[in-house]
C-alpha cells in the first residue's frame, strides 16, 4: 500500500425528492485495491458511484483524487481524472465496431482516425489484460460477456485508473465471472484500482480487498475482506439474519396444468433455438429450468406466453391446445408472466405505479365497466398491492421509472401474482435483487405453488433452483439434458448437464 489514497470521498450526501439516497458516506481507495460496495437494492450504491462518475452531483461532500480536491460535473470530467464506469446497461452502439465504440467521444480524435493504429492498440491492451475481443467485430454480434469486455477496454483505452463496475457479474456466466476476476487482478497489479457494486457475497469474498456496506443510504461498516465472512456481511447489509433456507410445506400435486410435447422453435434469426422439448407441470408444482443464459430459456418463456410461435409440437394448458395462441388468449387461460427484462417488457416507465399495477386486470370489472375505467378503483387496487408487497414508492401516482429495480420487480410481481389463476411463468425473477427482495420473491413463488399454481421458474442461480423448485430441467443448446427432482440435484450433475452432458450419459 502506498502512502496517499487514490480516491477519497468525504461526507457525500445526495438527496432526491422524497428520498435521501446517500447520507454522509465516506469512501477511501488506495492504488491497487479492489473495493466492494455491498448493499440491498435502493441502499444508494449506484447513486454514490454515479456521483463519482459525474452522472449526478452530490448535494454535500467533497471528492479528492490523489489528494487534490476536485469537482466532477460530467462523465467527461470523471474521465479526465481517470475515473471510468461500466454501467449495468452497457452504453454501446450496436451497429458500430468494437474499435469505433472504444474511440467514440475521445476528445483528441483526429478528423479521420487511423483505424489500423487503433486496432493495434486495442489488440495490445486485449492481450495485456486478457480481454479477448476482436476490434473489428460489431457490437450486436457479441455476447453480453464480450460486450462487457468492450466496456472495460474502452475505459482502459482512455487511461482510467479507477474502474467502477456496477453489478458486473449479474449478466455473466460463472466462467466469465472468473475471467473478470483475473482481469481485475491484472489491473490492480499495475496499480489501478476498482470499485464494484454487488450484492453477491461470494464475489465480495473472491474479488475484493475491502468491503463497504451501505444500508438505506448510510455507510454501515468498513471491513477488510479477509477479516469478515458472508454471514456477517449479510447481517450488516440487511440489518437482520438472512434465511437462506426456505420452508416448503408438503403439498398434494393437482392435475397437469402445463404440458409440452416435442416442441421446437426458432430464434429471431430463424435458427433453431428449441428442439424436442417435452415436460409437464402439475398444479402446485414448481418446475425449475436451469442452464447457461442463451441456451433457449428466452425462447421457451416466449412460446409459453404467446410471444413466439413454435415450429413444431404442442402446448397444452389444462388439456386444452394452446399452441401458437396469442398472448391475450394465453393470459385468459390463466397464465401470468414475470418477464426476464423487467424494464423493457415489464413496466411502462412513464405511467404511474397504479396504472402499471392495473395493467393486467384493467380489462375486467371492477376496474372497468362497459369499457370505462374506474380510476378510484384502480387507485384502491394500487394502494392494496403497495401495502401487500411492500412496494417502496412515494405515491401510487409516481411514474414507475422513478422506482429502484427491486421495487419495479415488486410492482410486476404484485400485478402478475394477483392476476395469476393457474400458471405462473417466472423468468429470472430474483436477478439483480438484494437479499431481502430475493427472499421475498422466492417466498412468493412457494406461496403460489402452495395455493395450487403451477410455477415454471427459469433461473441461473442453482441455489435458488434447488431451494425453490421441486424438479429441475437443464437446457443446453435448446434441448433438455435431463430432469431431476431437486432433492436429488447436486451441483456436479447439474453442472455437467449445463455443459451439455445428458442425464443418461451421466448415470450410464
Amino acid at each position: 500500500m502506498t502512502e496517499s489514497p487514490m480516491l477519497e470521498m468525504q461526507g457525500i450526501t445526495k438527496r432526491f425528492p422524497n428520498v435521501v439516497a446517500n447520507e454522509d458516506v465516506d469512501v477511501e481507495l488506495y492504488p491497487g485495491e479492489v473495493l466492494a460496495l455491498l448493499g440491498e437494492n435502493g441502499a444508494g450504491k449506484s447513486t454514490l458511484m454515479n456521483v463519482l462518475a459525474g452522472m449526478y452531483r452530490a448535494d454535500e461532500g467533497e471528492i479528492f483524487i490523489r489528494g487534490e480536491r476536485v469537482e466532477i460535473d460530467s462523465p467527461r470530467d470523471a474521465m479526465l481524472l481517470g475515473i471510468g464506469m461500466v454501467h449495468q446497461n452497457f452504453m454501446l452502439v450496436d451497429t458500430m465496431t468494437v474499435a469505433e465504440n472504444i474511440i467514440l467521444g475521445l476528445p483528441d480524435l483526429p478528423f479521420v482516425p487511423d483505424m489500423a493504429d487503433v486496432h493495434d492498440r486495442i489488440r495490445q491492451l486485449s492481450k495485456r489484460y486478457n480481454l479477448q475481443v476482436d476490434p473489428e467485430s460489431r457490437i450486436w454480434q457479441l455476447s453480453v460477456g464480450e460486450q462487457q469486455r468492450v466496456e472495460i477496454l474502452k475505459l482502459i483505452y482512455r487511461g482510467a485508473e479507477i474502474l467502477i463496475l456496477d453489478e458486473p457479474t449479474a449478466v455473466l456466466t460463472p466462467q466469465e465471472s472468473k475471467e473478470l476476476n483475473g482481469i481485475l487482478q491484472q489491473m490492480t497489479r499495475e496499480g489501478k484500482s476498482a470499485i464494484f457494486i454487488t450484492h453477491k457475497m461470494e464475489e465480495v469474498i473472491a474479488f475484493s480487498d475491502w468491503v463497504r456496506v451501505l444500508n438505506k443510504g448510510r455507510l454501515v461498516t468498513v471491513k477488510q475482506t479477509g477479516q469478515t465472512n458472508p454471514q456477517e456481511l449479510a447481517r450488516l447489509m440487511v440489518g437482520r439474519d438472512v434465511l437462506f433456507r426456505l420452508e416448503k410445506k408438503k403439498r398434494e400435486l393437482g392435475d397437469v396444468a402445463l404440458e409440452l410435447k416435442d416442441v421446437s422453435a426458432n430464434d429471431d434469426k430463424g435458427l433453431p433455438a428449441l428442439s424436442g422439448i417435452s415436460f409437464s407441470i402439475r398444479s402446485g408444482e414448481i418446475f425449475g429450468v436451469a442452464g447457461v443464459a442463451g441456451n433457449g430459456q428466452t425462447q421457451l418463456v416466449e412460446i409459453l406466453t404467446g410471444l413466439r410461435k413454435v415450429s413444431g409440437g404442442t402446448i397444452r394448458i389444462f388439456s386444452e391446445d394452446k399452441t401458437n395462441k396469442t398472448p391475450l388468449e394465453i393470459i385468459n387461460s390463466g397464465v401470468s408472466h414475470i418477464p426476464a427484462d423487467r424494464i423493457a417488457r415489464g413496466v411502462a416507465g412513464d405511467m404511474s405505479v397504479a396504472n402499471n399495477l392495473a395493467m393486467k386486470c384493467y380489462r375486467k370489472p371492477p376496474l372497468v365497466k362497459k369499457g370505462f375505467l374506474h380510476p378510484a378503483r384502480i387507485l384502491e387496487l394500487a394502494r392494496r398491492m403497495i401495502n401487500l408487497f411492500h412496494i417502496d414508492t412515494p405515491t401510487p401516482h409516481t411514474h414507475a421509472k422513478f422506482l429502484s429495480g427491486g421495487n419495479i420487480q415488486k410492482t410486476i410481481l404484485a400485478r402478475e401474482i394477483d392476476a395469476c389463476r393457474s400458471v405462473l411463468i417466472a423468468a429470472y425473477p430474483a436477478r439483480g435483487l438484494d437479499v431481502g427482495a430475493t427472499e421475498f420473491v422466492r417466498k412468493q413463488m412457494i406461496q403460489q405453488s402452495e395455493a395450487g399454481t403451477a410455477v415454471l421458474l427459469v433461473s441461473e442461480d442453482l441455489e435458488e433452483l434447488v431451494t425453490v423448485a421441486d424438479r429441475i430441467a437443464v437446457l443446453f443448446e435448446g434441448r433438455i439434458m435431463g430432469i431431476l427432482p431437486s432433492a436429488e440435484a447436486d451441483t456436479e450433475r447439474l453442472g455437467m448437464m449445463m455443459a451439455g452432458v445428458t442425464l443418461e450419459e451421466i448415470t450410464a
Binding site: 490523489r66 394465453i330 415489464g346 416507465g349 380489462r363 422513478f402
Partner: protein, 361 residues
C-alpha cells in the same frame, strides 16, 4: 461558475404551468426586437394583432374560422403522436376529406333527398381521411415502413389530385378560368353560427372533450397509453398493437378528413385552390404545444389562429409583411420547445471551479 442541467426526478407541476407562460413572454420579447428592427413600434403592433384577432366580433369569428381546422387536425395528429406514430399527413387527410365531400355534394345531390346529402358528405369525407391515414398505418404495422415518409408523400398525392380535379374534370365551366369546382347546392352548406364560423367549431369542441375522455378514462385509451409508452410491455400484456394502431390512425385520419369537409362545405362551398393554408402541418405544432392533451389543443389552436388572423391585420393596417404572423408563430414555438427542457430538467448553478488535474494516459 458553471451552469449544469440536471434531470428532474419527478415532474414539477409548477414548471408545467410556468414554462409555457414564460416561454410566451420570451417569444413576445424576441418578436418585439425583430419589429423594432423593422422600425415598427412593437407595442402598437401587438395591440394591432390582438385587435385584429379579438378586437371585434367579426374579427373574432374569423379567428374561430381559422381555429376550427387547426383544432380538428390537431386532435388527429395528437392521437397518432400518443402512439409515437409520427403522422405528418394531416394535410393530405384533410385534402382528401375535402375532395370526398365535394364529390358527394356535387355528384350525389341529384339522386338523393336533400336533407341527407350533407350528413353523407361528412361521413364520406371522414371515411376518405381515415382511408388516407389507414394506408401508412397498414404499411407500418404490416411491413414496418417508416410513417414519416409515407404520410408526407401522401400529402403531395392528395394535394395534386385535388389540383387535377379543380383544374380538370371538376372545373366550373362558368368560372372564367378560376381554378375551382362549381359552387355546391345550398342544402349541402354547413350551417354557420357566427360570421363565417360554422358548425365545425362545435364538432371540434365536442370531439376534443370526447377524445379526452376516451384517451384518459376508457379501456381502449389505457391500451393506447401502454402502447405509446412501451410497446413490448403492451405486447406482453396481450394488447394487440397492430390493431390498435390501425384503429387510432383511422380515427386520426377521420378527424383531419372532417376538417377538410368543414372547409369545403362551411367556408368555400366549393373545392378550390387554397383549400388548406398548411393547417395539417400547423396541426403538428398545435399537438406538440398542447403536450398531446386534447383539451389544451383547443386553446393552442385558438392562439395560433389568432396569430394568423392578427398577422393579416398587421399587414393591412401597418404595412408590415403578413409573414410577421408566421414569424411570431415560429418565435413562439422555439422558446416553447426550448422551455419544455425545463419541465424535464432543472438548471443548477455551481460556484466552485474545477481544478486542473492531470489525466492518466
Amino acid at each position: 461558475m458553471r451552469l449544469v442541467f440536471e434531470k428532474r426526478k419527478t415532474l414539477s407541476r409548477k414548471a408545467l404551468f410556468l414554462v409555457p407562460l414564460v416561454s410566451f413572454l420570451i417569444s413576445l420579447i424576441l418578436t418585439a426586437i425583430l419589429l423594432a428592427i423593422f422600425k415598427a413600434n412593437p407595442f402598437v403592433t401587438f395591440m394591432a394583432m390582438f385587435k385584429g384577432a379579438f378586437g371585434s366580433w367579426p374579427n373574432f369569428t374569423e379567428t374561430l374560422v381559422k381555429a376550427t381546422p387547426l383544432m380538428l387536425t390537431g386532435l388527429g395528429v395528437l392521437i397518432a403522436f400518443r402512439l409515437k406514430f409520427w403522422n405528418i399527413g394531416a394535410e393530405g387527410q384533410l385534402t382528401l376529406g375535402g375532395i370526398a365531400a365535394t364529390w358527394v355534394a356535387l355528384f350525389w345531390s341529384p339522386f338523393l333527398p336533400t336533407w341527407i346529402v350533407l350528413p353523407l358528405a361528412i361521413l364520406v369525407g371522414m371515411l376518405a381521411g381515415a382511408f388516407w391515414a389507414g394506408i401508412p398505418a397498414l404499411l407500418k404495422v404490416r411491413l414496418k415502413v417508416d410513417e414519416v415518409l409515407t404520410t408526407l408523400m401522401l400529402n403531395y398525392v392528395a394535394i395534386l389530385f385535388a389540383e387535377h380535379l379543380y383544374y380538370g374534370p371538376w372545373r366550373d365551366p362558368k368560372g372564367f378560368g378560376f381554378p375551382g369546382t362549381p359552387q355546391f347546392p345550398d342544402f349541402t352548406w354547413l350551417p354557420r353560427i357566427a360570421g363565417r364560423a360554422h358548425l365545425g367549431l362545435i364538432f371540434a369542441l365536442v370531439l376534443a372533450l370526447v377524445l379526452w375522455f376516451i384517451l384518459n378514462r376508457t379501456r381502449w385509451g389505457f391500451e393506447l397509453q401502454v402502447i405509446g409508452n412501451n410497446p413490448s410491455a403492451a405486447q406482453t400484456q396481450g394488447i394487440k398493437i397492430a390493431k390498435n394502431i390501425m384503429i387510432a390512425l383511422l380515427l386520426a385520419g377521420a378527424l383531419a378528413g372532417l376538417a377538410g369537409v368543414c372547409e369545403v362545405t362551411g367556408i368555400s362551398r366549393r373545392l378550390q385552390q387554397g383549400l388548406s393554408i398548411g393547417y395539417g402541418y400547423t396541426a403538428i405544432i398545435v399537438a406538440w404545444l398542447a403536450q398531446l392533451n386534447s383539451i389544451a389543443a383547443i386553446f393552442v389552436a385558438l392562439l395560433i389562429a389568432a396569430l394568423l388572423v392578427g398577422g393579416d391585420q398587421v399587414q393591412m393596417m401597418m404595412g408590415l409583411p403578413a409573414a410577421m404572423g408566421l414569424v411570431l408563430q415560429g418565435m413562439l414555438l422555439f422558446p416553447m420547445l426550448a422551455g419544455s427542457l425545463f419541465t424535464e430538467y432543472r438548471l443548477r448553478i455551481i460556484r466552485t471551479q474545477i481544478r486542473e488535474a492531470q489525466s492518466g494516459g
